[in-house]
Symmetry: C2
Subunit: 269 residues, 2 copies
């Protein structure tokens, strides 16, 4: 089965919830127009990232079943396509979460609350209590994780061991200094997560600057050997067609297997 | 403390045990002459890699206390320096192991038997039963692993959690196809192992061709952010001075820590 993944690399405006919802909805429509089976949006695409306080975060927090997210679902109607993107979530417990929501035309398919929080996120977000999920969908077995989660090799490994073919990662990657000619280290890391686990990885990052923080624009669709299949075009869309089941052949020689060669008895994790 | 690591990228000759021992001894002498505190040699540097059978492997197998390894130790005399390199080991149990030996001027400091075996190695080597070790040395806390071990993120993670500052990895990396401008994927993988765990990594790979198999020559000394500090010079020596204790500061923001931010309760490994 060939699955078209489209990552829409956007530049959300901090605290502009209605504008961000609308821009993301437009991007979903464009992506579906370009044949997307799966649309990936950045982390915290509804709120912007560099929130400064609980009050600010609360002011742009929504629930995954917020009626306004119908605008993301509308372009999916009649397609079976899926969209995943990051929201600043107000939980039923009144707490704030940095979440990824997976939607289809009918509603909410899954919500994942980021389990590894970066820097100021710890001020106002509660880390998720549930591991990153793997969902059996019409487009293969999809693992979802968010940004800093990827820095912990245990997360993509856990998802691969749970059967994921494809990892979807909304991110907001801070721009880091790097030597000339080098890819951003977060992109290299995502590539090696793909390679170590023989899974496809689709990262949707963001562009722009917020409160002096520049973003990487590191969006990439990566194959199970760690090679980049697609980067954003001039409009910010990274588009790749994936034979998702090919990730499941994790045999690397007649006697080697990416996961089967593990020695869990010897790991002290 | 600044520690000079010198990786000596050689081209061992298959089945030429005396010649390989002598060439490695020369390389150790050269490295020590260039100020090495730690010398790293390739995997299976005494035997060559593409052994075809138990008989072939047995014909070039040695024990870690083989008298001929005194030639590697001689240049270390009076220095306190260390050398690690790969041998085809004949165990006291009569079995063959793909091992790394760590020697100082006085004798054998440690032996590590590779725990993840690649392809034909499974025909004649027994996988090690003990995890990759971390050794407290005069040059910092050193983790040792061999080649394919690095492909399992659990191994460098286990070593970092055990306190390693610096990982030493003798390798024989098969040359893989790669897009123009890309580093070998094994080098990228080693870089991301360094970054994910905030450790220095010194990989000593090999060059040449054996029985039609080309080798990568992927030797590199890598810093804890994943950047390459040194590649081989025209003589095959990669030389870097490491402030080894700097690996121990794994704080990445005032509230983030490379290891402390892990969520082991959520990993299913």
């Amino acid at each position: 089965m060939t699955v078209r993944v489209v990552c829409a690399q956007l530049d959300p405006v901090l605290l502009d919830l209605p504008g961000n919802l609308a821009r993301a909805a437009d991007a979903v429509a464009t992506a579906v127009g370009r044949g997307a089976d799966i649309v990936v949006l950045p982390e915290l695409v509804t709120s912007g990232y560099l929130l400064d306080s609980t009050d600010e975060a609360m002011s742009v927090a929504i629930t995954p079943d917020d009626a306004r997210l119908a605008a993301w679902r509308a372009p999916l109607r009649g397609t079976g396509s899926l969209v995943v993107g990051g929201i600043c979530e107000r939980g039923e417990d009144g707490r704030l979460y940095n979440s990824a929501v997976l939607l289809d035309a009918g509603g909410v398919v899954a919500v994942y609350r980021k389990t590894h929080l970066w820097n100021r996120e710890k001020r106002f977000f509660t880390p998720g209590a549930e591991p990153a999920p793997v969902l059996d969908t019409a487009f293969g077995r999809i693992g979802i994780l968010v940004c800093y989660d990827l820095e912990f090799p245990e997360v993509p490994r856990t998802l691969a061991l749970a059967g994921a073919d494809l990892l979807l990662a909304p991110t907001n990657w801070s721009e880091l200094p790097r030597p000339a000619g080098e890819q951003p280290p977060q992109v290299l890391n995502a590539r090696m997560a793909a390679r170590a686990n023989h899974v496809f990885v689709a990262v949707c990052d963001r562009t722009g600057t917020e409160r002096g923080q520049r973003w990487t624009g590191g969006t990439a669709v990566i194959d199970p050997e760690g090679w980049v299949l697609a980067l954003p075009d001039e409009d910010g869309y990274a588009i790749a067609d994936l034979v998702v089941e090919s990730a499941r052949n994790r045999q690397t020689s007649t006697v080697n297997h990416v996961l089967g060669d593990r020695r869990p008895d010897l790991y002290r994790l």
